[in-house]
Symmetry: D2
Subunit: 327 residues, 4 copies
C-alpha cells in the first residue's frame, strides 16, 4: 500500500546556520505547490514532544530568505534520545496529521531522524544545515559559504591592524574538529598558514612553520587555527609560542558566534532553495531516510547512515596552494 | 628543443572583475616559488605595446587579495587587433625577456591571446576573469560570485522599500547577453521572476508572468531583468508594462557599475588563487593556448578556441525552482 | 481640563527610511513603559482612514531595530488631504480609543499632521524620518546617516572600476533637491566634486570644474550629482559633457532605491531610539504639533510650521574642504 | 620673529583606528594646497628616531580614504620617552627640514607630543585618532563611529544565534576603561543592558539587572560588557553568573581586534577630512600644542593638557533610554 503524503512537518535542529530560513521557505512553498500541507515544528525535536506545531501558508515564509538564524528556532533535546520521548513525538505528529518530516540540521539531527524513522516507519528527508561542512555526500552544506565569508571579512579587518602594527595573529575559527573553514578561510584571506585537525598535531604544524622561515620577510602574519578540543585551539598555541619563541608579538582572536549568524550569501540561499524543492520531490518519489546533497552542482540522495558515519576529507592539495602563496 | 620559461608576463584585460588582484597575486607568487621571474604589464595588451612593464617581487602583491579592481589596470586596445600592434607587442615582450604570458580576462582577451600565440609562437595561458560567467569550460569565472552577492545585497535593500510601499520593481543586472547573474540572483533574492535572454522574447516572459497571476497575493514584487541590447532591458520593459498594464506601480533600478567592484568573496579569492597556481603549473607542463577552468571543483584546461566559441548554457531547471518558490 | 493620554497611535508615512523600525520600537516601548497603550496604524494616514489598526505589545517590536524599511508600511494618501478623509480618520481614531499620535516621516507627513491637529485638536508629535536630511531644526534625520554610508559603499565599488579603467563617473544620489547627501558623500568617498542644487546652475559647476584643471593629473574621477528635477541630474550632465568635452570617457550610475533600504547604522538606530523616548516624554509634558529634533546632541522640540517651512542650509565650508582635498 | 612653516611631518602613533588614512590624506593635501611640503614619518615616533622619513606628494595619498589601518604604520616607542630618544628625533626632524608636526593618535601620542614640543619648541598639532572616544574636548574621535558600527554588525549576527537558541550572551567590546562603545552599541543593537566602568562595580550592575526581572519575558538576551582590567570583563562576569545564577545558559564572545579595522564610515572619513584641513589651518595660524576637535559640528582647538587630563563623561541619560527600551 502506498504511503500517501498529505501533510509534512518541517523543523530545524542543532546549531543554527545561515540559510536555514531560505530552506524553510523552500520546503514550505514546494510542498504547498504540490498540494501538500505544511506544519512548522518549533525548537527542533523538542517541539514535537511539547507540541509546538503551527500550520504554515506561503506568506509565513515571505521575506525570510535573507535572514540569518532560524524562524523555527532550534534546541538540543535530551528527551528525544529516550524511547518515551520519541513515543510522545510520534503521537503528537500523528495528532497533527503529519505524514512525513523534513529535518534541517547536522549529524546529530540525522542520527535522531534515522532512529525515529526506523522505530515508527516515518518518511524523513534531511537537509544539511551546518556551517562546518562536515557532512559526507554533499559538496557544501547550507551555511558554510556564509561562515567562510564572515570569517574573511573579520580577517580583513584584523589584517588592517596586523599590518599597521607588524604583529602575529592567531585567529581561531569554528569547524567542530573539521578543517574546512580554517583551510579555506586561510586561502581566501591570504593568511600565512592554517592549522587544522586533519594533519598531525598542531604543535608540529607550528614548528614546521617556524622552521620554514615563517614570517622571515613579512611585516605581519596571520595564522588561522581550527577550534579543536584536543589541542585547545588558538590560546594554547599562543602560549606554546610565547614559551618557545618569545620573540614574536602574538595576539589571539577567537571569532566565536559571529560565524553562525548573518544574512546568507547567494550560494547558501541558492543551495537551500534547490535542496528544499528536492526534499519535497524526494518525498513524492517515496524516498526516505536520506539527506539531500549537492555534488558537482547536481542534487543527490545520501542515506542518513552514510552522511553521518563517513568522514569527509579536506582537499589537502589546498595546503600546497596555501604554502606557495604565503611566500 | 624545449622552450624554457624563465620569465612570465602577467596582465589583465577587458572589463575588470573582483578577484583579478587575487589572481595576479597567485600567478606572481607561484611563478617566483618555481624560480620564474615576473613582469607586470599595465593596461592589458596596450601596456605591451606602450611598454609599460615592471618587474614584480612577492611583496608587490602583498595585501591585495581583498581588493576589488585590478592593480595592473585594464584597457581596451584597438591597436592590438592590427598586425603592426602585435608586432610591437612581441618586440617589447622579447626586449623585456618575457617568455610566456598569463592573461586574465574574458573572451575578447582570449581571442587576442589566441591570435598572438599563433603568430609569434608564444606560450599563453588564460584565467577567466569576468563577472558574466559566460565562458565555456569552467563552472565559474573569477568575479561572478562576488557580483552575484553584490546584486543580492542591493536587492535586499530595495526589497525593504518595495515591501514598505507595495510596489513592483524591475531591477536590471549585468550579464553581457547571458542570464547567469539574472537567474541566480533572482533565485537568491527571492525575486518573483527573472527575465533572461536565453528564453524567447522578454515580452513573452512578461506576459507569461502576468497570465500566471503574477503578484496576485503579494505585497510587492521584484523582477530581475538581464541587460540585453535586443530588448533594451528594464526600462523598455517598464514602458511596455506601463502601456499595457497601467495598474501596476512600477519602478526601475539599473544596478550598473557597482556590480563590477567590491572586495571579492571567499569563493572568488579561492578560485583565483587556485587558478593562478594552476596557470604556472600548466606553463611548466608545456601547455599553451588554454584557459584554466574549474569543473566539479577540479582544475581543467580548456583550449582558447573552445572557451571562446562554445555557448555555455544556463541551468534551465533553476527557472522551475524559481517559479515554484515565487508562489 | 487636562487632556489625559491613555493610548497613542503610531504610523510611518511618506518615503521610507532606514531606522523607522528602530523608531517604532522605541515609541512603542517608551509608551508601554509609561503605562500608555499603543495602537499600530498601517500604511500611514491611509490606515487611519481604512481602519488598519492593531494593538502592539513590547514583543511586537522585538528584533526589528536592525531591519530596514518599516513594519508599519507606508503609503501616499490623497484622501487625507480632503476634509472628508480627515473626518473618517478622526472617527476611526476615536473608535480605536487613540488619544494622540506619533507620526514618523518627512515634511509631507508633518504638513498633514499640522492640519489634522488643528482641525480636531489632536496631540501629535512627529519624528523626522527621511534620508534627505532636509528638515529644519534637527542636525540629522533618521535614515540620513545610513543612506550616506550606503552611497559611499557603492562609490567605493565603482571606484575600483573607475581606477582600473581610468574613467570619469557621474554618480547620481538622492536628496529631494537638497545637497546634503551629495556633498557629504563626495567628501567621504574622495570624489573630485559634488554638484548640488544649492549652488548656481549645475552647468556652471561643471564648467568651473573643467576650468580648474579637473582631472589633470588623475587616473580617474568621480563626480557626485544631486538628483534635481531642474537639471535632469547625472544623465543630463553627461550629455552636456559629451557634447562640449567629448575627450572624456564618461559613465553614469544612478544609485536609485538602494539608498532607501538596508540595515540602519549605529547613529540612526541611536537617534531613532532617543527620539522615540523623547516623543512620549513630550506628549506626557503636554507638547503637541512639534517635531522631535536633535541639535548638538540634545533633544529639541521644533514646531511643525518651522520644521516644514524653513530651509535648512548645507554647510558650504565643506565645498572648500572638498576642493582642497581633490587636488 | 615669525616661525615660518615650509615643511611638515605627519605620523600615526598608538593603537590604529579606521579613518587614520583619511586623516593622512587630508593633512597631506591641505599642506600641499597651501604650498607646504610633506614628510611622511613611519611607525610613529619610532620612525623619527630611526629616520624612516619619506616625502609625500598628493598621489601618495590617492585611493586610501576608504582603507582601514594606517599606511604610515604605528608602533609603541619606549625610546621616545627618554631625553636621548627625543634628542635624536629632533635632530632627524631638523635634518629632514621638518618645521612642524601633525600627530594622529590618542592620549599617549599627545603626552609625547606635549613634552617634545616644550623641550624643542616644535609646533605640533594633534588629531584624535582612537576608537575609544575617550579624549576630552571633542564630540567624537576618528575611528569611533566605525568601531561602533563594526560592533553592531557583529551583535546583529550573534543575535541571529541568540534568538534561535534562546540564550544569554555576554559580548565584550573595547573602550580602554571608557564606556562609550559599550553603552552606545548596547543602545544601537537593542541589547538588554550595558555594563560599563563608569558606574559602581560590574557585579552590582549585574545584580541590579537580575533583580529587575532581567529576561523575564524574553527569548534571548544580549549584554554588552566594556573591557576593563578591574573586573576582568565578560569572562569574569560569566563565571560569576554561572556560580550565582546557574539557571542561565550563558555564552561569551570577545570581539577583539576586529573592532580596530575595516573601511571607515562616512562620519569618520568626513571628520578626518575636516580635521586634517583644520590642522594645517591651525599651524598657519601659529597654533601649537593643541588637538583639533569637533564640538557641535564646529572645529575647535583643545590644548594637549586638557585633552589628555580631563575625563570625558559618558551621557548617563542614555542608560535611562536603554533601560526603557529593554522592557
Amino acid at each position: 500500500m502506498k504511503y500517501e503524503i498529505k501533510c509534512i512537518g518541517v523543523l530545524t535542529s542543532g546549531g543554527d546556520s545561515p540559510g536555514m530560513n531560505a530552506a524553510i521557505r523552500s520546503v514550505t512553498r514546494a510542498a504547498i505547490f504540490n498540494g501538500i500541507r505544511v506544519k512548522a515544528i518549533y525548537r527542533g525535536y523538542k517541539g514535537l514532544i511539547t507540541n509546538e506545531i503551527t500550520e504554515f501558508q506561503t506568506q509565513n515564509v515571505s521575506n525570510i530568505i535573507q535572514q540569518g538564524g532560524t524562524i523555527l528556532k532550534s534546541a538540543r533535546c535530551a528527551e528525544f534520545r529516550t524511547p518515551e520521548g520519541r513515543k510522545t513525538a510520534y503521537e503528537n505528529m500523528k495528532a497533527a496529521e503529519i505524514d512525513a518530516l523534513v529535518v534541517i540540521g547536522g549529524d546529530g539531527t540525522f542520527t535522531g531522524a534515522r532512529i525515529f524513522a526506523q522505530e515508527y516507519n516515518v518518511p524523513i528527508v534531511g537537509l544539511p544545515g551546518t556551517i562546518d561542512n562536515d557532512l559526507y555526500g554533499t559538496d557544501s552544506t547550507i551555511g558554510y559559504d556564509t561562515a567562510l565569508n564572515t570569517i574573511i571579512e573579520a580577517v580583513d579587518k584584523i589584517r588592517d591592524t596586523a599590518t599597521s602594527h607588524e604583529r602575529l595573529f592567531f585567529i581561531e575559527v569554528m569547524g567542530r574538529d573539521a578543517g574546512f573553514l580554517a583551510l579555506n578561510s586561510a586561502l581566501a584571506s591570504g593568511a600565512e598558514a592554517a592549522i587544522i585537525p586533519e594533519r598531525e598535531t598542531q604543535e608540529d604544524q607550528l614548528e614546521e612553520l617556524i622552521k620554514n622561515g615563517f614570517r622571515k620577510s613579512k611585516n605581519s602574519s596571520i595564522v588561522i587555527v581550527a577550534e579543536s578540543e584536543i589541542t585547545g585551539g588558538a590560546n594554547a598555541l599562543a602560549e606554546l609560542m610565547h614559551k618557545e619563541h618569545p620573540e614574536y608579538d602574538v595576539r589571539v582572536t577567537i571569532l566565536g558566534h559571529i560565524q553562525r549568524g548573518g544574512s546568507p550569501t547567494a550560494h547558501d540561499r541558492i543551495i537551500a532553495s534547490r535542496m528544499g524543492v528536492a526534499a519535497i520531490d524526494a518525498l513524492l518519489d517515496e524516498q526516505r531516510s536520506i539527506m539531500i546533497g549537492i555534488v558537482n552542482d547536481e542534487i543527490v540522495h545520501v542515506p542518513f547512515t552514510k552522511a553521518i558515519k563517513d568522514d569527509k576529507p579536506v582537499d589537502e592539495t589546498l595546503l600546497g596552494v596555501l604554502s606557495i602563496l604565503s611566500i
